[in-house]
């Protein structure tokens, strides 16, 4: 079944209301902290108050004597008994050597490397007792010089003996010589220095986990708020605890948002699982929000220089980029992939720039580990490129839309100079639609109206492209991936024709239980309510790589489609038997099997029943049952793309920036459920605009203390920070998956930050501000205006 056939089926393109909503709306959702196990204990982690220090001694005697304390684990308890947290992506330096890969111990052994680093795990009968006892763990620290920025890491004391210069890797992509040559012949070169500020993901449900060892079976169950339970199990069993996988079941029940921060294997998960065997009791841990600020993997944190060489018409000839990426104190699971494969390969953007060269240096600093956060590398690429492109326009006296239109790729497939091959897209259509929806023609009048009120108005453009559904496994492997990137789907048809699907992708707000059910219902001619989706449990789902990178429908959904192909093929054989016809003459549509050219037919439910009650059944040729599993490895990434247009109004007296309108036109290929897709776009926009206007993770540059450590001082977006978003779509179906889908979860967060900042710069240009980085908080905008005046 081709993508276009699929998109015409019933239920596809229908805004089916979500099946999962009822439990969330009535308070019977089942998040990890809602689970309690008989005889469970509670863990509290003792965390380092220093960014960088030698741990001279840890004394637990006083803590052990506190009421209710069951055990206190320290680094000495685990030393030599388990591996450290593994990094899932190895990077090769430009000189051919491997990256520096220092160990990441589960509990600190002789050194702490960021505020919040784990020093001990206190286990007690109640949370309060564990908290009280944690105060009595005495740690003797010798404080060392801290590095917070990449620039400091270049010269400061080493965090790891394995990386004496704090350098993790130098990596590059593109033809350096070719780019240098093209720059020599350029009519104009635009140069831009910019910072992509560090963010805290802040899923509303803080991380939580329960480690539960069962002595009778010598096995473990880990309940954990996580986006990919199979990968969690794989990493923990194979790389840390040396346990056989069949002895560990990982269950990620309802998960209250992830945004990347719950992809990773965290030290707490390992400590709880291992510790539960040591005390032979379940151990529960629920992260406080302030603790989450310290210990969840952060996002972004790039400092870059970019240059574009152009001819006299503003046609891009070549681009050159250097980025310093802050990886934090240790390598989180996918940290190394973010500033390389997920970032540099997207820097061609939507443009036919013939030559691109990108060099990345990444660094260890005394900050929380940085990893993928909504978009992962793609927002960093888009922010850099789209800021640069608008600046090119301003320097060439062209409009922001004109320079984009002059450089858009128009012919597909298109091979970029930085490894990717875009299969399809229509960038001009997205731009045209966005301009119409945003009424860009009326901008000049609106600007004059703002000026009459003493306000500055600006318009900003951003034309993004992203790569979703990281693929295929063998190419990713050649680029350093240490895991496969396929997905699995099992379709279990029950005797009465209803269906349960077991998917390896994971839903933590994306609505898979509805969207995936639509896909299956459409294919089998069922009602959506006849299909249930199961996910998030290694004990029930065959295998899975989880949910991140907007891969669920394009990879997970495609795996289910493959399983449905097998279901259909077998069901046709059963139908052929029932209809006394050749199976090559059987056709299946609208839930009925028919014999070509006749009126003989049998419904799907009857075929299902026959498979399980095989009385009239070709048992000599066919096994009973109707249950098929497929694993799908994509042949390429998918490439969602779009154009976003933002209009801001700034009060120069206060620096307050108000988003007056925001238009997002995206090409996600086939859309299964427009309501769900629109919701995903809204959420992404809120996070992207949040970064652009409000959010900023700040460490004290001398001490390495986290200054934005709670919702009191990290500005989270709220309902009155946004206008109504204008959302539009263009559809060029993906050419290489059976659904034609491209993925939609990250687009908003990728495309919106440069649109906002370009608008801010467009507005501030009038008062002499030419450079500005996120976030455009009132104070920072006001300061920029004052500096320009001075």
């Amino acid at each position: 079944m081709g993508a276009s056939d699929f998109s015409n089926l019933p239920h596809i393109g229908e805004s089916v209301k979500r099946k999962e909503d009822l439990r969330f709306l009535t308070g019977v959702g089942n998040y990890t902290d809602d689970i309690n196990i008989a005889n469970q204990t509670y863990a509290v982690f003792v965390r380092s108050p220093h960014a960088h220090a030698n741990v001279k001694s840890v004394s637990i005697d006083a803590a052990l004597a506190m009421p209710g304390v069951v055990h206190v684990f320290t680094g000495k308890d685990i030393e030599g008994k388990m591996g450290g947290l593994p990094c899932g992506w190895g990077i090769t330096n430009t000189d051919g050597t491997p990256m520096a890969e220092p160990p990441h111990p589960i509990l600190a052994i002789d050194k702490v490397r960021y505020v919040g680093d784990h020093v001990a795990m206190v286990v007690a009968e109640t949370v309060q007792q564990a908290k009280d006892a944690a105060e009595y763990v005495e740690v003797d620290y010798e404080v060392l010089q801290a590095s917070v920025t990449c620039a400091q890491a270049r010269t400061n004391a080493a965090l790891h003996t394995e990386a004496p210069d704090n350098h993790c890797y130098k990596w590059a992509i593109g033809d350096k010589g070719g780019v240098d040559e093209a720059f020599k012949g350029a009519h104009h070169i635009t140069k831009l220095d910019l910072t992509n500020n560090r963010l805290v993901p802040n899923a509303m449900e803080p991380r939580a986990a329960i480690g539960h060892y069962n002595r009778a079976g010598d096995d473990y169950t880990l309940y954990v708020s996580n986006q990919n339970p199979h990968v969690e199990r794989l990493l923990m069993t194979a790389f840390v605890l040396s346990l056989p996988e069949h002895k560990v079941r990982v269950i990620a029940p309802d998960v209250g948002g992830g945004f990347g921060s719950k992809i990773y294997l965290y030290a707490e998960d390992v400590a709880l699982t291992w510790g539960s065997k040591q005390i032979n009791r379940p151990i529960k841990w629920v992260c406080d929000r302030s603790e989450a600020f310290l210990s969840d993997a952060h996002g972004r944190d790039h400092v870059s220089t970019a240059e574009m060489a152009m001819d006299k018409d503003g046609k891009f000839l070549a681009m050159r980029v250097h980025t310093d990426a802050n990886l934090g104190a240790y390598l989180s699971t996918f940290a190394t992939a973010v500033p390389t494969i997920l970032y540099a390969t997207l820097l061609a953007g939507q443009y036919s720039t013939p030559q691109v060269y990108v060099e990345v240096d990444s660094w260890f600093t005394n900050t929380a580990p940085v990893d993928a956060y909504r978009g992962a590398g793609r927002p960093e690429a888009t922010y850099l490129l789209e800021r640069l492109v608008s600046r090119c326009a301003w320097e060439m006296n062209l409009s922001q839309d004109e320079i984009r239109k002059r450089n858009f790729i128009t012919s597909f497939p298109y091979q970029t100079p930085v490894a990717l091959q875009y299969d399809t897209g229509d960038f001009h259509a997205c731009m045209d639609k966005a301009q119409a929806m945003a009424d860009t023609a009326g901008f000049a009048k609106r600007k004059a109206d703002s000026a009459a009120k003493g306000l500055l108005r600006g318009i900003g453009y951003s034309s993004y492209i992203e790569a979703c559904g990281i693929a295929p496994s063998n190419i990713a492997g050649a680029l350093g991936a240490r895991a496969g990137l396929f997905e699995s789907g099992e379709v279990r048809v029950h005797p009465t024709g209803s269906v349960t699907v077991f998917t390896g992708s994971h839903s933590h707000g994306q609505g898979h239980e509805t969207t995936f059910a639509q896909v299956v219902a459409a294919r089998l001619g069922l009602e959506v309510d006849q299909v249930d989706i199961v996910h998030g449990d290694t004990g029930r789902v065959p295998f899975g790589m989880g949910t991140y990178g907007s891969r669920s429908i394009s990879v997970g959904g495609a795996a289910i489609m493959r399983a449905l192909d097998k279901i259909e093929a077998k069901a046709k054989k059963i139908a052929a038997h029932l209809l006394e016809a050749s199976d090559t003459d059987i056709e299946f549509a609208n839930g009925e099997f028919t014999v070509k050219g006749t009126d003989k037919k049998v419904p799907f439910a009857q075929v299902a029943l026959t498979a399980y009650v095989p009385h009239n059944y070709p048992l000599d040729k066919l096994e009973p049952g109707l249950n098929e599993t497929a694993f799908y490895d994509p042949t390429n990434f998918t490439f969602p793309a779009g154009t976003y247009i933002c209009e801001v109004e700034i009060d120069p007296a206060t620096g307050v920036t108000r988003i007056d309108s925001f238009t997002a036109v995206d090409d996600f290929g086939t859309i299964i459920n427009p309501m769900v897709v629109e919701g995903q776009v809204h959420g992404g926009l809120a996070q992207g605009i949040g970064q652009a206007l409000l959010e900023n993770c700040v460490y004290d540059q001398e001490t390495g203390q986290l200054l934005t450590g709670s919702f009191m001082d990290y500005a989270m977006p709220r309902a009155d920070d946004f206008p109504e978003f204008k959302i539009g779509h263009v559809c060029t179906p993906c050419t290489h998956n059976p659904l034609g889908t491209k993925g939609c979860g990250e687009a908003g967060a990728i495309g919106s930050p440069p649109a906002v900042i370009n608008a801010v710069l467009d507005a501030l240009h009038e008062v002499g501000v030419t450079d500005f980085d996120m976030p455009a908080s009132p104070n920072r905008v006001w300061q920029a205006i004052q500096s320009a005046k001075a």
Binding site: L22, T26, G683
Partner: protein, 155 residues
């Protein structure tokens, strides 16, 4: 100490420590886990319940000080036959939730808002939701849900 409450119309009691918060008592003693904890600074609003007719953040109320009060949680919003409260139905209809974690607090705040301001405008709704954070929906559909729920409640 023994704390006695009427929760969702039923008398309930628990023996709790003096420093137990209302949210802890609801979740841990009364096993009403629909009320969530999303922060430790009373900023996020995931723990919002209605106490004696007012929406409160149950993470900033001591269980002891709630002794004798009438508390309504998300578990008590639907009718006994399962019919959703108009505000719950509106959140489903308008796709006003994604991961669902902030949702109970949002619904409780929204019901309180409409009870006190049945004609709340879009701007007033956005402003009054300031104490409830959501990281998934971008708020637009939550605002629509509250408007739809408002119309259904007011009739």
């Amino acid at each position: 100490m023994l704390v006695q409450l009427t929760v969702n119309g039923k008398p309930m009691q628990a023996d709790v420590a003096n420093n137990t918060l209302l949210v802890q008592m609801l979740r841990e003693n009364l096993h009403l886990t629909g009320t969530h904890v999303g922060c430790d600074t009373s900023q996020c609003g995931a723990c919002t319940v209605i106490m004696n007719g007012d929406a409160v953040k149950s993470c900033s109320v001591l269980a002891a000080s709630a002794n004798g009060s009438e508390v309504k949680t998300i578990e008590g919003m639907a009718q006994a036959d399962g019919t959703l409260h108009p505000m719950q139905a509106a959140f489903k209809e308008c796709h006003g939730l994604q991961c669902g974690y902030c949702t109970p607090g949002m619904v409780m705040s929204a019901v309180d808002l409409v009870a006190k301001n049945p004609k709340a405008s879009e701007a007033e709704i956005r402003e009054s939701l300031e104490g409830n954070m959501c990281r998934c929906t971008g708020y637009q559909n939550i605002v629509r849900a509250v408007q739809t729920g408002r119309d259904a409640m007011v009739g």
